[in-house]
């Protein structure tokens, strides 16, 4: 079989999968930041295969080998402490593929390298986007759980009110809050910003 279609997964389903994962592997389950690198390698027993020049040579920074046991990752990204937040999200994203797309990945088999190249080139952009956005959503929900996100925003409620007293720019405020709390989750501010929007919690928080 050399064609796969993205599964129809609801965001609720992805949230449940992320929650199940946290219950099973994160101790305690509400701990942040989620120690995703340790979990991947030690609890999931994924072999890490750091590759020098992967990004430079192929524009790819990581992929799960289709045996589902090995994570190939750009060595610079893996070793550089300045890229730790991106590295953590990359791990969570690839685990997202493992959890959500295991069946699809396992079903596909290639007779040789040319068949694989042909498969990837012919893969529809839209299908690829679905697979990627599902893994992305899983990673976000795993590393930035909704309840902890709300708690961290509430902790900044005084600052939020002071800002609102002097300015009226909710997007800039969201951006500023994302920068303030991203270290608590050890992800980039951009991830927090997208999580705030994805969870639609901004308007709910009447601060």
């Amino acid at each position: 079989m050399t064609n796969i279609l993205p599964p129809r997964l609801s965001w609720d389903h992805i949230r449940d999968e992320a929650e199940k994962f946290r219950q099973e592997y994160v101790r305690p389950p509400d701990k942040i930041p989620v120690p995703i690198i340790e979990i991947a390698e030690i609890d999931l027993n994924i072999r890490i295969n750091p590759q020098p020049g992967l990004r430079h040579r192929s524009d790819v920074e990581a992929f799960l080998e289709s045996d589902l046991r090995t994570l190939c990752i750009d060595q610079d990204l893996y070793e550089d402490p300045r890229q730790e937040k991106r590295l953590r999200f990359t791990f969570a994203h690839e685990i997202g593929h493992l959890i959500l797309h295991r069946i699809e990945i396992s079903q596909i088999q290639f007779a040789g390298i040319e068949e694989w190249v042909d498969f990837r080139i012919k893969m529809k952009e839209e299908d690829n986007r679905w697979f990627e956005s599902q893994a992305y959503e899983f990673a976000g929900r795993l590393l930035v759980p909704r309840n902890q996100l709300i708690d961290k925003i509430k902790e900044k409620s005084d600052g939020i009110q002071k800002y609102r007293d002097i300015a009226d720019d909710e997007e800039a405020l969201k951006d500023a809050i994302s920068k303030l709390i991203c270290d608590d989750f050890f992800v980039s501010a951009a991830v927090i910003y997208r999580r705030i929007n994805a969870e639609k919690i901004w308007d709910e928080l009447s601060m």
């Binding site: 750091p50 524009d59 992929f63 990945i105």
Partner: protein
């Protein structure tokens, strides 16, 4: 009996030490050590490297684990058939790219080369 790489990896995971942490402590290259653990690169031959591996794993000089590690290093070799046999089964389906687009044919061929080298 486990290979050197398998045995060393199990000792490391039992102690919940990630590859990155282990390589930072020992000064070993994570790409090469990953290959050693996967049996694609020879075990270290020098006493100094074996000692630093043992130290990072918290193995005493006279411990059974360290003696086993040394014995396995001494008999380790790399079966040549391992080098290319499983390549097709490792080809990835999805990629995390920098520009967020599908890799080109040229980039896909680079990935094959990289996997072959790894």
């Amino acid at each position: 009996m486990a290979s050197f790489g398998e045995y060393a990896r199990n000792l490391r995971l039992e102690r919940r030490i990630t590859l990155r942490e282990f390589c930072r402590t020992t000064g070993l290259d994570p790409s090469n050590w990953s290959k050693t653990e996967r049996g694609l690169h020879p075990a270290p031959r020098t006493k100094e490297v074996l000692n630093s591996v043992a130290e990072a794993l918290g193995l005493g000089n006279d411990s059974e684990e360290y003696l086993t590690l040394k014995e396995l290093a001494a008999v380790s070799h790399i079966p040549s058939e391992l080098v290319d046999s499983n390549l097709v089964n490792r080809l990835p389906i999805f990629f995390r790219t920098i520009r967020g687009e599908k890799p080109t044919t040229r980039e896909l061929r680079e990935i094959v080369k990289i996997l072959r080298e790894s």
